[in-house]
């Protein structure tokens, strides 16, 4: 399982994307999202898509793996698209059944929203695929640092986030084992977790929470044993420092935004 990209899991590498300053990547992916929302038509989205494909290539992550990394979240895309199909009306009507009506405008809108969501997911996935959790944490913490003066526990929030991300794949694995164990005891989880009732759901969630508490207890002792005492006086193995490539990334993003705006202006949807 270690050879496939998973949303939220790190994909080891030494590419330029991996070496970008995590602060730049964090702010950059927010900016990328904004730009994707800026795109008004297919031309704009096309530019964004090309840009994101380019980023994945630069990161050395094969495109099928990129697709696989967001696969578990595609249901969001499908649900959103369906809602759009059903609620946006206009143009030629293809199908009508009672209050349900599928029209040309609905399909267009659904396709547009779906592509936009996929691009957003790919953008976020790229951040976590190319940035270790500790780096994301560090970036988060450093970006929030100015707020520490007004009492915001920036370091603690960053640490919490990092640990949450570190344990995410582990809990996914544990949940899979628990699920299989309960299935072996005849639990009907496969079809619909909600219909199986509270007993079946708690058969999954109680062991998972018990495990989380167990992990938390040892982890906190293990961190204390290694002299963790908050952010004061901590150094970093790889201190964050901006490099020329980070400026390059900023310029590339600006160029993307310009292209998208130009596409909006020149090729209105």
């Amino acid at each position: 399982m270690g050879d496939s990209a998973v949303f939220g899991r790190y994909w080891p590498g030494e590419s330029v994307m991996h070496r970008l300053d995590p602060r730049v990547k964090l702010v950059g992916s927010l900016a990328l999202m904004a730009v994707i929302f800026l795109a008004r038509g297919w031309a704009g989205l096309g530019v964004c898509a090309a840009f994101i494909v380019g980023l994945y290539l630069a990161a050395g992550i094969p495109l099928p793996q990129a697709a696989r990394s967001i696969a578990p979240l595609l249901f969001i895309v499908v649900v959103t698209a369906l809602l759009n199909v059903l609620f946006v009306q206009g143009g030629q009507v293809y199908f009508q059944w009672g209050p349900l009506c599928v029209s040309e405008a609905g399909l267009r809108q659904a396709a547009f929203i779906a592509v936009r969501l996929v691009l957003l997911l790919l953008g976020v996935s790229l951040l976590t695929l190319t940035t270790t959790t500790l780096d994301i944490t560090e970036a988060f913490e450093r970006l929030l640092a100015p707020l520490a003066r007004v009492g915001l526990p920036a370091h603690e929030l960053g640490m919490m986030m990092g640990i949450a991300l570190r344990f995410l794949p582990q809990f996914a694995d544990e949940l899979r084992i628990i699920r299989r164990a309960q299935l072996s005891r005849g639990a009907r989880l496969a079809a619909n977790p909600l219909r199986g009732g509270a007993a079946s759901l708690s058969a999954l969630m109680v062991p998972l929470f018990a495990s989380a508490f167990r992990h938390a207890e040892t982890l906190s002792a293990a961190m204390e044993a290694r002299c963790y005492h908050g952010g004061v006086g901590r150094t970093r193995l790889h201190p964050l420092a901006l490099a020329p490539r980070d400026a390059g990334a900023a310029i590339a993003l600006a160029a993307l935004a310009a292209c998208v705006l130009a596409a909006n202006a020149l090729l209105p949807a």
Binding site: T132, R180, A203, T218
Partner: protein, 676 residues
């Protein structure tokens, strides 16, 4: 010593080489000045326990009438006195609840005694100023590798400790590299921690502690969750560190580890029950057994031989035992006579008849026919591979074994589970054992091949549904799947899912709890989370038994239990098997498999390496060694002695039979030589 490089490197950095590694001086060039804050300037190379340790007269750790309680009512230990000198390799033994882990955390100032004092490097652990000084110099490694790694990359995790100490960046990188080198993981900096094996994770955890330049390394059952290969690697690292001057306190259940220490302390209910060299302590078999501890194989065999009247000194180490035996080896002519004697004895004793009577003849209950399984999408990978140029299917098949892109978790597995037998499955971590047993009740389907229940394919929906109940699967650490508010409800979960009536459910719950030695009316209303670990595991077992399975499949059922609980559990499994339940037992312990299994199947990299009676399988020691497995201790010793000319006739030895045969041979040889 190991720290010498780091110490010297650091000293070189501030231009004052100081490589006196043996003394407490150089032993730990920690960045924390005594009493200083963790932010102390690392460049100064303030050495850790110097001065302070001198004051304690060379004892790094001192418990002075220390008492500790978690809840103010029950004392974990009381008035404990213990001294650990510099450079010692101390093994701490004790059953569950004897206070070992609490003691470890007291050394490290994670816990402080409620009465008395604990001095680490001469500093009182209650002295707040000394906390980080103590913690960085007395590194603690925990049991579960998944609970103590904080980072997703190896280098970030190893650097976590020194980062907390404020070590500057260039020095950090060097420390990470040095520490990884010391645990044999050079170049692993950019590896993901999640992708490592359990043994490697524990070595990363040790590296994370070593990177703080400790003078004492404390391992709190750090090997308990590892397979034999991982355990051996961990032990090798500890011995190398110790040879390089590190003081080591190792908490363990494994006697073969204790036998390699310099000093063994046995804790019982918070007091020191035994303390001495392994040769003294570990040969006191009766006392150890009374304290719920194992006795090392060599000790127990040498004691058994003495009981048989053989003139042999009690030993704790296999090598010593072999030396002792070599002196008594039956000489040429006498040996011949002994061989005849032993051969006749063995033939007459017929100690290797198949167990359980029906075992050989049982009809196949479950059969695997050429089962392949892959977690990924093997078809796609294969197509890509084919496009890549390798065409011949046979060549491909041969290449899979060593191909780093190999995706098959199971490769062409064919096997039978016969009615009434106990089939043992062995294989190192990652050999496909867990994947294999999940095929047995149709939880996951083979990518290729078939799994049959009484001749019917599990791929058929109705048969698959039947397999869910007919094949009871007990996962590893099954107590981690308990969830209900009461023991009764948890055990009743399965039968209720089967849609049985309340009376039938009640009957099944009571019978299942009785089968694991628990009384439904006594524990039924309790929360499973109130019970001890061993009890929880019994409840989890009962939950599977309540499904009334025909086959009970168990994945490492005694992992992480202390010796007494382990023996009780194995007895329980034997009883279930004797009552006619077909069993599949996955285990790392070759001794358990040899003792219990009718047949043993060995998996390697997803393929069946060998399958046969324990005598057949354990006859080929080399083949097992080649895949990182051992053979039962008695069998291994018998094989070595046979090579030295001892005429040991039986195909499979356990401790009793080996002691009996050796005693007979020594008796015969002794008479021939000394004319006794």
């Amino acid at each position: 010593m190991a720290d010498e490089e780091k110490g010297a490197g650091m000293a070189a950095a501030d231009g004052a080489p100081r490589a006196n590694a043996g003394a407490p001086d150089g032993a730990a060039g920690g960045p924390v000045a005594p009493g200083g804050s963790p932010r102390a300037d690392a460049g100064a190379g303030a050495s850790a326990p110097d001065g302070a340790a001198g004051a304690a007269g060379g004892d790094f750790v001192v418990f002075e009438d220390a008492s500790f309680t978690y809840d103010g009512a029950a004392w974990v230990f009381r008035d404990l006195g213990l001294r650990v000198g510099q450079g010692q390799f101390l093994c701490l033994l004790g059953g569950n609840g004897s206070g070992k882990s609490t003691l470890a955390q007291c050394v490290n100032a994670l816990l402080t005694p409620d009465a008395g004092r604990v001095l680490t490097f001469g500093r009182d652990t209650r002295d707040a100023d000394a906390t980080y000084f103590i913690r960085s110099n007395a590194g603690l490694v925990f049991q579960n590798p998944d609970d103590q790694l904080v980072a997703s990359l190896v280098e970030n995790d190893v650097a976590f400790g020194p980062e907390n100490l404020g070590v500057p960046a260039p020095e950090l990188a060097r420390r990470v590299a040095d520490a990884l080198g010391e645990v044999g993981l050079q170049g692993f900096q950019r590896h993901e921690t999640a992708a490592l094996s359990g043994g490697q994770k524990q070595r990363v955890a040790i590296a994370g502690v070593l990177a703080m330049d400790p003078a004492v390394l404390i391992l709190d059952e750090a090997s308990a969750m590892l397979d034999p290969r991982g355990r051996a690697g961990l032990m090798r690292v500890c011995r190398e560190l110790h040879e390089a001057g590190m003081t080591i306190i190792m908490i363990t259940h494994y006697m073969e580890e204790a036998a390699l220490a310099e000093r063994v302390v046995v804790l019982d209910a918070g007091r020191v029950a035994m303390d001495g060299a392994p040769g003294e302590v570990l040969t006191r078999a009766a006392e150890l057994r009374a304290l719920n501890l194992d006795v090392p194989f060599a000790a127990s065999l040498s004691l058994a031989l003495r009981e048989h009247g053989a003139p042999i000194a009690p030993c704790v180490d296999d090598a010593d035992l072999e030396r002792e035996l070599a002196a008594l080896a039956p000489a040429g002519g006498g040996g011949g006579a002994a061989a005849r004697g032993a051969g006749a004895w063995a033939a007459g004793a017929d100690g290797d008849a198949p167990r359980g009577g029906t075992a050989g003849a049982g009809a196949p209950l479950l059969s695997f026919e050429g089962v392949w399984y892959s977690y990924g999408d093997p078809e796609r990978k294969e197509r890509r591979r084919r496009r890549g140029g390798r065409r011949a299917p046979e060549a491909e098949r041969a290449a899979w074994g060593t191909d780093p892109e190999a995706v098959w978790a199971l490769r062409d597995v064919s096997l039978e589970v016969r009615e009434g037998e106990l089939l043992g499955i062995a294989g190192h971590t990652g050999s496909g054992k867990s994947t294999l047993i999940q095929q047995m009740n149709g939880l996951s389907r083979p990518t290729r091949g078939r799994v049959l229940l009484r001749g019917e394919d599990l791929a058929d929906k109705a048969v698959g549904a039947r397999a869910r109940t007919a094949v009871g699967l007990v996962f590893q650490y099954p107590e981690h799947q308990l969830f209900a508010a009461t023991v009764y409800d948890d055990v009743a979960f399965g039968p209720r899912n089967l849609g049985l009536g309340p009376d039938e459910v009640d009957g099944r719950v009571r019978r299942a709890l009785a089968a694991v030695g628990m009384d439904a009316s006594a524990v039924g209303a309790k929360s499973p989370f109130e019970l001890s670990g061993g009890q929880q595991r019994r409840v989890a077992f009962a939950g599977v038994l309540a499904m009334a399975p025909e086959v009970l499949v168990m994945d490492e059922p005694v992992a992480r239990l202390d010796p007494r609980a382990r023996e009780e559990f194995l007895a329980l499994i034997r009883r279930l098997h004797a009552d006619g339940l077909t069993c599949v037992l996955v285990s790392h312990s070759m001794d358990d498999l040899a003792r219990m299994a009718d047949r043993v199947l060995v998996l390697n990299e997803g393929a069946v390496l060998t399958c046969g009676t324990p005598a057949e399988v354990f006859a080929d020691e080399e083949a097992l060694h080649a895949v990182g497995l051992g053979v039962p201790a008695a069998q291994a010793l018998a094989a070595r002695l046979r090579r030295e000319g001892w005429p040991l006739a039986r195909p499979l030895y356990d401790e009793q039979s080996l002691a009996a045969d050796l005693a007979a041979l020594i008796g015969a040889g002794g008479e021939a030589r000394h004319g006794r």
